[in-house]
């Protein structure tokens, strides 16, 4: 669902009431101009007329900004009015200019960016008078909508000058909320006359397409389980798992450092890509180059699967769980993969709040089920592998593969066990395995 469609369907059902003035308040960098421009783009696509009054930037700068999002505003229905902030002495003339422009252009939507700059040199009383008597009456008479952007200094709790929120019909607050190591953007709606707001609090992110609100996947979307299996990339492991892993399932591959979890992921994604199935390898730990180097060491030629295998390296420290999910969702929607490997759960865990991460993994599970993506996630385990950590991940997993090592004499021996494989008659034995230059070799004894 597109961002503004979501805003007007789910967050504010039926959109902004006609004849209303909406205050959009936010700290610098929260995306106030982007949100209002995304709304302008949405309305322009529906044949409406937009009057954009900017006191913050000249037209050329604004147009460059919106072009970054691929928006091409129809010149006959979009008018950009650039003004500078004036004092009381010239405010009447400025108001006259705005009113004249409104009367001539007859817009459906007026955006003022920003009301803070418009009123920076004058008394708040004039602000109230302008909003209520001049702009307010024109908007109501025409049945149009006005979006008034207001700056909120970082750390300040009050909205605007303390007058705007009383004369407007709706208030949308955009804010940064600190969560662990990172900040996330949150939209709140404390006031919206004539609209029932069921959930007044949404996280959003700024993407190449504008603003994307985080949408919780619909739970009932997948009624039937996928019956098709895909290869793990290791034929002996496929046999042990009764023919591979189901599409739409989550497989946790857990083990100590150095047991070969990433190698299993490489085989999983590469083998499916070789079979002509799209696969995605997502790493939070290593660079794309180091994965390519590992592939070369196993004799894999990336060029041969370039069209079907996508390797993505993300840095979890700078992302909220929601952002990570949205990025994964974007990759999935763009590439439509059958197989996906995520390396690793721990690198996410180290940078995210536990509850938020559990929620994200739940959304991930819903998404992979809906899209039929066989997903493998690596999990690093400290100490003995028999003590599998009780994370939200292991509870949600359809399959759990344990990798461990023992010392036998002067030799390190790697072992593999299928701990769980939902709806499959899987092997319950512990097998010895080795990682050789020709791949993963699993031995019967």
């Amino acid at each position: 669902m597109k961002s503004i469609e979501f805003l007007f369907n789910r967050i504010i059902p039926k959109g902004f009431p006609s004849g209303s003035m909406i205050l959009i308040v936010g700290e610098p960098g929260t995306g106030k101009t982007i949100l209002t421009s995304a709304i302008a783009n949405y309305e322009l696509e529906r044949g409406r007329r937009i009057l954009f009054i900017s006191l913050n930037e000249p037209k050329e700068d604004y147009m460059r900004t919106i072009e970054r999002f691929g928006w091409r505003f129809n010149k006959s229905r979009f008018r950009f009015v650039d003004l500078f902030a004036v004092g009381r002495e010239a405010f009447d003339a400025q108001i006259r200019l705005i009113i004249e422009e409104f009367a001539m252009f007859n817009p459906d939507l007026v955006i003022i960016d920003s009301i803070t700059a418009l009123t920076s040199l004058i008394d708040p009383e004039f602000v109230r008078s302008f909003l209520h008597a001049s702009l307010g009456s024109m908007i109501k008479k025409r049945g149009a909508i006005a979006l008034l952007i207001a700056e909120k200094p970082i750390g300040k709790e009050e909205i605007g000058f303390g007058v705007e929120e009383f004369v407007v019909d709706g208030v949308i607050v955009l804010r940064f909320v600190k969560y662990g190591e990172h900040y996330r953007r949150v939209l709140e709606i404390p006031k919206m006359r004539r609209r029932r707001i069921e959930k007044p609090h949404y996280e959003y992110t700024i993407t190449n397409d504008g603003i994307e609100f985080f949408e919780i996947p619909i739970l009932e979307s997948v009624e039937e389980a996928w019956t098709e299996k895909v290869t793990t990339g290791i034929s002996r492991l496929d046999e042990m798992m009764d023919g591979g892993v189901y599409r739409g399932s989550i497989t946790v591959i857990a083990g100590n450092t150095g047991t070969g979890k990433t190698t299993f992921g490489i085989y999983f994604t590469y083998s499916n890509a070789l079979r002509g199935k799209k696969s995605v390898f997502v790493t939070f730990e290593e660079s794309v180059e180091s994965i390519l180097r590992a592939m070369r060491s196993y004799g894999m030629e990336f060029d041969g699967v370039r069209d079907n295998m996508i390797i993505v390296s993300l840095i979890p420290e700078s992302e909220s769980p929601i952002n990570v999910f949205v990025k994964l969702k974007d990759i999935v929607e763009k590439e439509n993969p059958i197989a996906m490997f995520i390396d690793s759960y721990n690198s996410l865990e180290g940078n995210m709040d536990e509850n938020e991460l559990s929620k994200m993994i739940r959304y991930l599970q819903l998404m992979v089920r809906e899209k039929g993506i066989a997903t493998m996630i690596s999990l690093n385990v400290d100490g003995r592998v028999k003590e599998l950590p009780q994370t939200g991940l292991s509870t949600l997993a359809d399959n759990i593969i344990l990798l461990s090592y023992d010392f036998e004499g002067d030799e390190m021996v790697r072992k593999i066990l299928i701990l769980k494989s939902r709806a499959s008659n899987h092997s319950k034995r512990i097998y010895r395995f080795e990682i050789t230059p020709s791949g993963v070799e699993i031995y019967d004894r």
């Binding site: 000249p58 037209k59 009015v81 650039d82 003004l83 500078f84 902030a85 004036v86 004092g87 002495e89 010239a90 003339a93 400025q94 006259r96 200019l97 422009e101 040199l121």
Partner: protein
Amino acid sequence: MIGNPEDMMVEAVKRATKRANPALEKLLEVHLRLNANSGFELAYRDPKRFKDFVNRLFGEYSGRLLEMLIVDEIKRMLEIGEDLENLEKAVEILRMIV
């Protein structure tokens, strides 16, 4: 007392910029010196060119706003209630009256 029409226009531009925003006067003055090799007298000598430079600096609508304020100042100085539409018309009137 300002008798010279060009001086009157320069004064009107100064008053108008001050009225709009105290920071604008110097900004516009430097902009005109650097780009038009002229001062505020350009508003009298070539009002269209003056407006082009103002628009380049402030944008079309801010340019219009400043024009409205300059015309307003001319009307005050001449104590006329005449409906002056633009800077060109104001210059015409100045040339006739003074």
